[in-house]
């Protein structure tokens, strides 16, 4: 599978990362090498193998529905680059 500039451009869009033209060409050649290396996994027959997404048996964890102490609005917004009236602010999407 070849990773060309257009693929990287599309994936960078999905990942919401702006890349310069230079980054785009360096990344496509590096990712091409990496993916070729990773293709080694295709040597193995894994049709009967179950995937491991987690090493431990993971179960749902429930707790009692009781209020606990959490961050107040001031603490929660303490690191926000922009805020107003107790909310995070973001660029306008709808005009």
């Amino acid at each position: 599978m070849a990773i060309d500039k257009n693929t990287v451009k599309y994936v960078a869009h999905l990942a919401r990362i702006r890349l310069t033209d230079k980054e785009l060409s360096v990344l496509s050649s590096q990712l091409e090498d990496i993916v070729t290396f990773i293709d080694k996994l295709k040597e193995l027959d894994v049709t009967k193998v179950k995937p491991t997404s987690h090493i431990l048996p993971v179960n749902n964890v429930f707790r009692k529905d009781k209020p606990i102490k959490s961050l107040n609005v001031k603490e929660a917004l303490g690191n926000a680059p922009a805020q107003r009236d107790g909310f995070f602010t973001a660029p306008k999407v709808l005009e």
């Binding site: 599978m1 990773i3 693929t7 990287v8 994936v11 960078a12 869009h13 999905l14 990942a15 919401r16 990362i17 702006r18 890349l19 310069t20 980054e23 990344l27 590096q30 990712l31 090498d33 990496i34 993916v35 290396f37 990773i38 080694k40 996994l41 295709k42 193995l44 894994v46 193998v49 179950k50 995937p51 491991t52 997404s53 987690h54 090493i55 431990l56 993971v58 964890v61 707790r63 961050l71 603490e75 929660a76 303490g78 690191n79 926000a80 680059p81 922009a82 995070f88 973001a90 660029p91 306008k92 999407v93």
Partner: protein, 486 residues
């Protein structure tokens, strides 16, 4: 010996006899940072930090650690102290809470240093060169890397700029720098230590662990930070043993395996010789050594770079310029709407090259049409790698390997070739994929006086066996007592 040169257990003894105060220890650490950190760069945001000009000890003198200072990797949340993962995108981030491990240390009476240890951005790397603050330098040879990603922790401990440190390990990030710097580091079993407050890289692989000057300190710090935490859904509720009881100088009858796949191509000749000598020494001390096979070893690196980057691409979606850190302005001429344009500009400016590379690789592996070919297949091969270990542990109590195929390489040597850099994690990655514990201890020096690390891997929740074997080896050798000249 100066106080900063001592181990945690030696200092705890002195503190309890009232021979020293916590303030004196912190002063000695500060003096050492002032004199050698401009060369080593184990800490970040040092200039402008209040830490260098005033001493405040806030802990109870009656507590277990009595104000013993501990230094922390820049990706573990410390309330009110900058925690930036050495990334521009988290510039100025001050967590409003402490990680579970920090709470535990504070409760035990530790003094948490307000300046943090350098690391590869978001723990992406094996050399600490991917830090937005620039690389740390190896105390044994300032032209060489410290390893990574917990390189600042390992360098600080090796250079006596810290008594002990907490790092994190996703594919070797505690063990490989410990090996490059000649100190001790353990990656605990997955689920043994809470990840609450560790800024996530790959959630199914990440674990926090100590980097220390000797095995006894490693056991001491792990005991303090291990245990169940309801805030981490993958934390395991199994009682924490008293690891100090594992510090027994005896390996008679212990069955140790060495995997033949780890001693073939790609390994440095001196590293191989030194590791084989260490194995020979354990044999002399009474251990039963046998060759074993981990047949899927060569697939560990490709599996890791799918699983870890996929999880990272998802975890790093939160850095969007809204909740914390950097925000760049939307571009005027962008075809996207202003919100998406702001995301792209922020992430384009805030992430370094390796972070971008990994997020894009991970997004690619998870994207439509490639999910089955890459991500699902990698998860299946992960099962095979885990089964290799399950099989091996039927015959042996622990497994010994080199920690890294090489000693510390030169700064700049691998940074332009990501694949070459990834392959330097070949011996450490499998433990994360299988979820098992692994420790690295010093086992010798090359002719150029560079440290070599020995890795011991054990069964899940079998840290006691690792400490016993590591302690025995350490008590019968003197590698851990050597200090770099700075």
């Amino acid at each position: 010996m100066k106080l900063n040169e001592l181990t945690a257990h030696e200092l705890i003894e002195k503190l309890s006899k009232r021979e020293v105060t916590s303030l004196q220890i912190i002063d000695s650490i500060r003096d050492r940072i002032k004199s050698v950190d401009p060369k080593v760069k184990a800490y970040v945001r040092v200039s402008g930090s209040k830490f260098l000009d005033s001493s405040v000890v806030t802990r109870q003198p009656s507590s277990f650690l009595m104000g013993l200072p501990i230094s922390i990797k820049d990706n573990i949340c410390t309330e009110g102290y900058n925690t930036e993962c050495c990334s521009n995108i988290l510039q100025g981030f001050k967590p409003p809470y402490n990680a579970f491990v920090i709470k535990r240390l504070i409760d035990a009476g530790a003094e948490i240093l307000s300046i943090k240890n350098n690391m590869d951005e978001f723990a992406f790397g094996s050399s600490t060169e991917n830090s937005c603050f620039g690389p740390s330098r190896n105390p044994w040879d300032l032209e060489r890397v410290v390893g990574g990603s917990s390189g600042g922790c390992a360098a600080a401990v090796a250079a006596d700029e810290a008594i002990a440190a907490l790092g994190s390990d996703t594919g070797g990030s505690i063990r490989q720098p410990a090996s490059f710097c000649g100190v001790v580091g353990i990656k605990p079993t997955y689920g043994r230590v809470s990840r609450f407050g560790l800024i996530a890289f790959a959630s199914s692989l990440d674990q926090i662990g100590p980097i220390t000057k000797d095995v006894a300190d490693c056991a001491l710090v792990l005991k303090l930070i291990a245990g169940f935490d309801s805030a981490d859904s993958t934390s395991v509720n199994i009682p924490v043993p008293d690891y100090s009881r594992s510090l027994v100088n005896d390996v008679k009858g212990i069955r140790i395996g060495f995997p033949r796949e780890y001693f073939v191509e790609g390994i440095d000749k001196q590293v191989k010789e030194i590791t084989l000598e260490a194995i020979e020494q354990l044999k002399v001390l009474g251990a039963h050594i046998q060759e074993i096979s981990l047949p899927h070893t060569e697939y560990a690196v490709p599996v890791y770079y799918i699983v870890a980057t996929a999880e990272a691409s998802s975890n790093l979606a939160r850095f969007d310029g809204i909740q914390y850190g950097l925000r760049s302005s939307a571009e005027q001429d962008s075809p996207d709407n202003r919100l998406i344009s702001m995301y792209k500009a922020t992430r384009g400016a805030g992430f370094g090259q390796e972070a971008k590379r990994r997020i894009i690789l991970g997004t690619y592996a998870l994207s439509y049409g490639y999910y089955e070919a890459y991500y699902l297949r990698a998860q299946k091969v992960r099962t095979l790698i885990k089964q290799d270990f399950d099989e091996a542990f039927k015959a042996v109590d622990c497994i010994i390997t080199p920690t890294s195929p090489s000693v510390a390489f030169k700064i700049g040597e691998k940074i332009q070739d990501p694949l070459k850099m990834y392959l330097s994690d070949i011996y450490t990655i499998s433990a994360n994929l299988a979820g098992i514990p692994a420790i690295s201890i010093p086992c010798g020096f090359t002719r150029n006086n560079l440290p070599v690390g020995l890795q011991i891997l054990g069964k899940a929740f079998g840290e006691e066996m690792l400490f016993r074997v590591a302690y025995t080896y350490e008590q019968n050798t003197e590698w851990h007592l050597r200090k770099p000249k700075l």
